[in-house]
Point group: C2
């Protein structure tokens, strides 16, 4: 695509100035409309080193109100960032509703550079391309506008610009090692960029080539494309157009319905104590190994109110070194979280490699409480099954151990536990009116949960049901599953 | 993707039979739901020769009602078909609402085979991939379910099966030359298939690999995937989810608004006659050349009622050899046309190469009358600008000359011509109540037309405005544009 690209004829100076003046004024208007429509806009500036991305970006934002945009300069990942999935540092930087984020450099630059320099192989590179396509698509599906620019200059112009920058002591720092490497391997880079662009040139997030041989001309191209893309996104926002649901392509496990789960499993106190002790010891030892081998673990808990999630989590956490794990209680999202993609707050809470994150309630809120209470649209929760499978696939591809527990009890057991909480002064804080209201919707929830388990029990991240009428049984089962999953992962390392 | 694909473990005979029985019954239910929901379903069976596509297809349809599906066997294009754009024979076979079309072989097989055997080069192949992605996406956007299966067998199994088929005189005919070629060049084919699949594995039309080493097992995989995909499409249909509007990526021309068009251009009778005669002679000569060089020409006419489209077309057609052109008057769509993608009826009317098709009203009805009269949804007409640009890009890539005329008059001229028609007995058939009603909506139409011209004046298929207050002037201008466009194309041939 890039290789066959034919530049547009440049305009006369006069025409260029006139169109630029008009375009700048139009962009200023769009900026207000973006704010009014709560549209989040992510603009990617990528391309050849010394192509003038930075200075064109500087020109574009000069006409914008600084309250409405943020510039993210993305060169090499920090050491903290390299310990997370490669998309982490991009996902945590996505803009809020109504704001622009300009990315100076992006996942394209990072991934192609690592591939070109042999840091990642073909297989990992292809996996990254798939991840990137999913990332850009899910942003679009969730109402984001993603505009991607590739700043193009010839080998000759690049060489000339690098030399000019190097001549001056004030600009010398702007020439990176990578720029020099690129210019030396221009043809090789061109092949990889061309392939990358072709592979990621999705309808919902297409690439635009910017002839960057002249700054004013580059600014005009960028500004005009931004205006037209914003108009398209505003039309989408205005008519509340939803993303189509996608065919499932992830391999699924056959799963039972909740009503088919037998809840009569129990353990005696003695069996429980003995097993608990041995299993916690084992888990402690494994945690050490995980830390040394830098394997991340993510344990997700969902379950009925009063099913015993808290106590179950305590038995896992109790076995772990407190410096190596974190428990994330998930309540309703904060305003800053609500203003972004609903998975943003979970990306933000991912553990470093070698660490364990335990989620007390999770991203599955989307297809349970948010679905049933109308906190999101039907399209939102219907789309979420696939989006969540994709999210967990990222975690698994990052080499994390991902374990999902559904803590199951029956309706009578819940009633008994609610009543007990009500009548026991030191437990009263644990029961609220909301719990009783949720209980009234038991059947609706059960239907939603069955659908959730069926659609998100992928082979790479299946659900485990913890029969928790007897809490002791459920705790031991959870420990065993966690241990087995970690052991299995350690075997491959 | 294909190369790294890991087959699922096969089931036990018992489990296989049980699941198959269940799946068949479920598919029968889905068939009725597809009918009720008016969902068009296009299922593609592709993959290795001798992989058993045909017999698995036979098994799948055995449980379906023959009134609800059609099987399309697509081997090599006929000579009539090769004289059309390569997607033509697929587009004209898309199913109606509520029906299934099973394609035994598809555009994948055709395009990869031609590429593998050197009939088309890398550049044309890549163009075809882009066309295919657009085709599959626009079907999805217009409410079609597209399910794509790739039947996979190893080189060894393929060889064995081919030998078995050849042994028996009743099955020998089923082994094609291409099957033999494939087996001999298995690795080479694998590389191309793998790349093809990766390039066309879109979220809205993903690929499914079918382990085709055993028929019953292959049938189960196909049936279960069909069920799940149909359920997704039914959920889309039920909640009337619309496709998001796409960012424009086609280069556009700057265009004037209709109100800026000067309509005072005229010709004297004498000038007119002289020019007409010369130009028609020239066009007649060019038509011959077109025919010999097999270049197709498509001329699209849109314009106000009484603007003089008919007379204008007559002057073009009058210069042409009647065996080499056709005029297509476009009225509102027939039921069979309404039940398919709105561009279907235009694909059906494409000329053979070397021929000229003149459309008296066109696919632009979508963004004018259908928009303003509410014959389609807002999402439909908003999406159509890009869909139409993509359609015309197919025509241009096929090497057609594409000319689009907007025949422009002012409101007073229309009134004068309406009144004249009303008052002249032999012209009265030309004026209807609808014309008067449309006239009342002049301003709304003008707004829609301005938007249409702005968004679909691509550099490869721009609009030409014919100032037709003086019909003679407009006719001469049209002839000149047609001649110039044909001459330009002939120069490159």
């Amino acid at each position: 695509m890039l290789k066959e690209w034919v530049k547009e004829d440049k305009l006369s100076d006069e025409e260029l100035s006139a169109r630029l003046e008009k375009a700048r004024a139009e962009l200023a208007i769009r900026q207000m409309k973006v704010k009014e429509a709560n549209l989040p806009v992510l603009v990617v500036f990528d391309g050849w080193g010394a192509a003038g991305k930075g200075s064109v970006l500087g020109r574009v934002i000069k006409n914008m109100d600084p309250r409405f945009f943020k510039v993210e300069t993305l060169s090499e990942p920090t050491s903290e960032e390299t310990r997370r999935p490669f998309l982490y540092r991009y996902f945590v930087r996505i803009p809020k509703e109504g704001k622009f984020s300009f990315f100076d450099g992006s996942w394209m630059g990072e991934v192609t550079q690592h591939y070109l320099q042999g840091d990642i192989g073909k297989k990992e590179y292809k996996e990254h391309l798939t991840s990137i396509k999913r990332f850009e698509r899910t942003l679009n599906d969730n109402g984001y506008l993603v505009v991607k620019f590739f700043f193009h200059i010839s080998e000759k112009i690049q060489k000339k610009r690098i030399k000019e920058l190097e001549k001056n002591e004030h600009t010398r720092w702007r020439v990176s090692k990578n720029d020099l490497w690129q210019n030396k391997h221009y043809e090789e880079c061109m092949d990889v960029y061309d392939e990358y662009i072709e592979a990621t040139n999705q309808f919902v997030a297409p690439w635009y080539f910017i002839d960057s041989s002249e700054k004013k001309w580059a600014e005009l191209q960028v500004t005009e494309i931004l205006i037209s893309s914003i108009d398209t996104a505003l039309a989408n926002a205005k008519s509340k157009q939803n993303a189509p649901l996608l065919q499932n392509t992830f391999p699924l496990k056959n799963t039972p319905k909740l009503s088919e789960v037998k809840l009569d499993k129990t353990l005696t106190d003695e069996e429980y104590r003995k097993e608990l002790d041995a299993l916690q010891k084992r888990l402690r030892a494994l945690h050490n190994e995980l830390y040394h081998k830098r394997i991340p673990v993510i344990i997700a808990y969902e379950g009925w109110d009063a099913a015993g999630k808290g106590g179950n989590i305590k038995r896992i956490a109790g076995a772990l070194d407190p410096r190596g794990y974190e428990v994330h209680p998930i309540a309703s999202p904060e305003p800053a979280e609500k203003a972004r993609h609903y998975l943003w707050r979970f990306w933000n809470r991912l553990p470093k490699d070698g660490h364990i994150a335990i989620f007390d309630r999770t991203w599955y809120g989307r297809v349970m409480v948010e679905r049933l209470e109308g906190f999101c649209t039907e399209n939102d929760w219907q789309r979420a099954y696939n989006e969540i499978n994709e999210f967990e696939k990222e975690l698994v591809d990052w080499d994390a151990v991902v374990i999902k527990f559904w803590v199951q009890i029956d309706k009578d057991t819940q009633l008994a536990r609610f009543t007990d909480r009500q009548n026991t002064p030191e437990k009263q804080w644990k029961i609220t009116d909301e719990d009783w209201r949720n209980r009234e919707k038991w059947d609706l929830y059960e239907e939603a949960i069955d659908e959730m388990i069926q659609k998100t029990s992928t082979k790479f991240a299946p659900w485990y049901i913890l029969e928790s009428n007897d809490k002791k049984y459920a705790r031991i089962k959870a420990l065993k599953i966690v241990i087995k999953a970690i052991e299995k992962k350690l075997e491959t390392k």
